[in-house]
Amino acid sequence: MTDAHPGKIRPVTRAPERRRPEPAPTGDGSALFDGYLEPDRPYAGAFDEMFHADGRVRSHYRALHDAIAPTAAADLAVRSEALDRAYVDQGITFSLSGQERPFPLDIVPRVISAAEWSRLQKGIVQRVQALEAFLADIYGDAEIVRDEVLPRRLITSCEHYHRAAHGLNPPNGVRIHVAGIDLVRDEGGTFRVLEDNLRNPSGVSYVMENRRTMARVFPDLFSRQRVRAVGDYSTHLLRALRSAAAANEADPTVVVLTPGVFNSAYFEHSLLARQMGVELVEGRDLFCRDNVVYMRTTEGEQQVDVIYRRIDDEFLDPLQFNPRSVLGVAGVLNAARAGNVVIANAVGNGVGDDKLVYTYVPEMISYYLGEKPLLPNVDTFRCWLDDECAHVLDRLDELVLKPVEGSGGYGILFGPNASRTQLAAARKEIRADPRGWIAQPVVQLSTVPTKVDDRLVPRHVDLRPFAVNDGDGVFVLPGGLTRVALPKGSLVVNSSQGGGSKDTWVLAAQRSPEAERELGQRGLAVASPAGSPAAEHGPELTIGQQQQQQQQQGGDA
């Protein structure tokens, strides 16, 4: 690329001699970051996570930057290829329109400092607890509606509010066993919640596999700092699922219910089942009799106590929902109602992550917990409120319009990029169904250096941390899935829209390892024994023998 601004980021400092090379702010002699902070880039307004606006490297990125900057572009390309190959070899792919592709993993990790993470973690825990209380309330006495904090029609008009779930109380009270809270970082660097995923948040397998693959392909990056491990997610998930079972079940049987191999997240389902050591079942492997769920095994029927289902509500039970579903298990909802099986995540959770209900989460937090929300929402205009709708219709060309029921980045309209006809069509749709739409100002998502061709350039990222609730507490996996929008200027990070991912590093706090170690339990033995004898060895020819064997001329030609 021939740029008008060849890679000087900081304005020329007061260097007296011009002969000596400028101390380049992005690492000495690194061509990788050439032109990274050009003023005319389309990312100028965004918060860059690695660099301050004046080109200095932020402190928590310092070690990473110093490790990457001297790397040659060719080296980076080799490693990047190795990442792709590792994913294809392991079968870590997602299906896009029927084709299996490796999930693009970018070579530059995204770093979150310990202090930042501890704030995020508290905010996520708070949010999950509030939403948990909300779901329990809504499918129970609905006091929040009676107290007129939320309008009743908000709930009843929600497509994912299932009357079938009313009064279906899980044994340990947990409905959100796994939550994925999507966060974005706005222009000021503040993390905001973009949406909540309380049904089947996916992507955690990429969090684990990204880390494993990065450590194998680019281990040098890890050696300079302490990154918190993400590998024990499955342990937490299994604990949560087991403790969700009915209290009288001493050794509950947990299964993972998948739609099947053709599902885009099948890899994740099988990974979780494998790591938890539980069966991965399809709907046809299960059946209900007398309100008890069984799976068919070679040893006969085996009762199932907890179903971690990765299929949507609508397909879960053909008796209650979509009667044409072949993925589900007929009668499973009644079995859950009878208390013989626990469905995780619970049926009807969709009412909590509806994009319109989302706008009321701050109210929920203060209503149920009596706290101030630690993580702010993104400002949202609700088209079903008349005054806000008028504003949206008026300013549509400056806003992002999102369908309330959408996911995967489908149906989103970027006002600034839309044509007149698109805007007109959108206005018509809003008027026809105001409950179906929300609008948000365009948030310039924060950017992180990303490898595109042989350069590192800014690309927009979001973050989906995963929280697991086992009834006693909410565990937040340190890190989460960072998705990155690979096309230039794009703000849509979904993998179905050309998004990739990044390994997400939460740095360990300085003194925590020691504290953790001291608090840790006893090992199997107090200390390792002094040492083992050296390995035995077979007989070897002595030098004398070798020499004599060589000196014999007989066999040589």
Binding site: D75, V78, R79, A82, R211, A215, R216, V217, F218, P219, D220, F222, S223, R226, V227, R228, A229, G231, D232, S234, T235, L238, V254, R274, Q275, M276, G277, V278, A508, S512, P513, E516, R517, G520, Q521, R522, G523, L524, A525, V526, A527, S528, P529, A530, G531, S532, P533, A534, A535, E536, H537, G538, P539, E540, T542, G544, Q545
Partner: protein
Amino acid sequence: MLARNAESLYWIGRYVERADDTARILDVSVHQLLEDATVDADTTARTLLAVLGVEAPQGDPLDAWSLTELVGYSPDQAGSIVASVSSARENARGAREVVSSEMWECLNATWNALPERQRYARWVGPHAFFSYVEDRAAMFSGLAASTMSRDDSWRFYLLGRSVERVDMVVRLLLSRVSDRMSSPGWLTVLRSAGAADTYLRTYRGALDASRVVQFLLMDKLFPRSVFHALRQAETCLVDLDNRPTARIGAKAEALRLLGRARSELEFLRPEELLDDLPAQLMGLQETIRDVGEAVSLQYFHAAPWVAWTAPEVS
């Protein structure tokens, strides 16, 4: 068959298994050092060295990289991967007529490619090297299984492999006995034995230190467990003994030792195993050492090389 060839086969089995297991142990240890924030690199590296019977260098604190250099690439370090592969190849070279061509070529090609693989691994990270060694070891044992007749040569090879397997699993466990009961390190222990998937299926994901130890020591079905390897070695020795005349017990020392160790594991109460695990493991290691000596006394008739020169009298 020639005692010398039998000895070579026995040591081929041992060296290949040692290279394989050392690569497995290093693969998980090195990556745990790199990935886990709560691990003190120097202490962990030194514990590992002690358990592998490698003398730790004095001075600089060790990290994942120096550990790999020492136990992985160093040709002079007895017990390193490179040294084990070289020794296996040397033994195969000296016993070409009892080793199938496929096996020899596999070993030789592995050995030839080592420098190239090291260069690559120094560049892209040690996993590339470890997985290469693991792959080639798997290929070698596959070739051995499919090209060797099930005669005495096979039994000596298998005996060596099984004996070494016991030794290495014991060393692996010794390196971890002081870990916390719930440490995620136990999963890496399982991974290094290739047992993670099987274990998780067997115990339905419940990761528990005592169960991991039990699984790796006492499981009857998993081929890398100590018990399984002991039983296999025992079977080999029984089949090798072609004049079974003794009516009481086992007449051969090696068989007696193996049988005793195997039945001790078999009939031990699981909870007693954990009471004094280090002592149990050290005991097993002792047994393996004695077995090695007994086997070589019984079958290999090791004659010391005698120098028929007059000693210099000064």
